[in-house]
Amino acid sequence: MRSASGVLALLLIGCAGAATPAPAEARRRPARPRAVVWDERPVDVLVAEAGRTGKRLVIDFWAEW
């Protein structure tokens, strides 16, 4: 499914070429897809934050195959 090296690669891709485009250029370009930034805090802390912010909390249960 995914590996630590895969996650690292995604982080590196996300950091590459970080020069800020000029405003007009930015308007022409579609938003750059970003890798998910997982929140590693305990689930109960995240539940409380979801309650405060009105956001939804998504928990991805995965396993190596």
Partner: protein, 258 residues
């Protein structure tokens, strides 16, 4: 899926975390959220209550659509409660509410609804009875780690509905439960008998041979069965059989994984 741009974008504006199912520290969360399938994405509202979940993954677009719907959904339980109440003889309605309550921790009500789905679709014509057993089996074996109850459920599914599309998986889980209970040879016998039964397919041999390889039992007879069915096998099954043939032909590992 979340490593892809589309998957990552689907979570924009939400709080997101991930849990490795197999990590020891994850057990409490697996039980708390009743994770019966992998992968599973659970969506919670601000009150900490589950709103919806996306289980399994087969195809990218369908998964993204399901994910998007789950993020926009309202808690379906009130609607499902009403449907189950007004359609008491509808097996699908009992099944849908039953599995959702079960994984949310309302085991007593969930079980009753699932048992009713089995009763209402006793011949499994609509596949609801086998699905209800499948849910119960995974819940007890994967979530509760109750291998004795799991074993009984898988045995019922495999023997009562042998033509169900879930029968093959049930055999595999049944054998695995026996192995977990310390009955490794019995697990092998279950799969051997299924592979040698009338109507058995090469996939039954794949199950038996995979178990033989993993558990270090029945290696020679399973290898002979692989050789017997390999010439007629096609596609992924043939590929798996070739791989198993190679593994079973090699000298056995000194410490089989019991």
């Amino acid at each position: 899926m979340f490593e892809t741009p589309a998957g990552a974008e689907s979570l924009a504006g939400q709080i997101a975390t991930h849990v490795n199912f197999d990590a020891e520290a994850a057990r409490a969360l697996v039980e708390r959220f009743g994770i019966i399938n992998l992968p599973t994405v659970v969506v919670l509202g601000g009150d900490g209550q589950e709103i919806d979940r996306v289980q399994g993954y087969e195809e990218k677009d369908a998964w993204l659509e399901e994910m998007s719907a789950a993020l926009r959904a309202n808690n379906p339980i009130p609607t499902l409660e009403e449907r189950a109440r007004t359609h008491p003889d509808d097996a699908a309605a009992q099944l849908e509410l039953g599995w959702r309550l079960l994984v949310r921790g309302d085991v007593a009500r969930g079980e009753v609804l699932l048992e009713r789905a089995i009763l209402l679709d006793a011949d499994d014509r609509a596949g609801h009875a086998s699905e209800a057993l499948f849910v119960l089996g995974r819940f007890y074996q994967r979530v509760k780690l109750d291998f004795r109850t799991g074993r009984n459920i898988w045995r019922e599914l495999a023997t009562r509905y042998p033509r169900s599309e879930r029968a093959l998986t049930a055999l595999s889980w049944w054998a695995k439960a026996e192995a977990e209970l310390g009955h490794v040879d019995l697990g092998a016998e279950i799969l051997r008998r299924a592979a040698q039964a009338e109507g058995a397919t090469p996939d039954h041999v794949v199950l038996w041979a995979s178990y033989a390889r993993k558990r270090g039992v029945d290696r020679q007879p399973a290898l002979a069965a692989v050789d017997a069915v390999l010439p007629a096998a096609t596609g992924e099954t043939a590929e798996e059989l070739r791989e198993l043939r190679e593994a079973l032909s090699a000298p056995a590992a000194s410490a089989p994984a019991h």
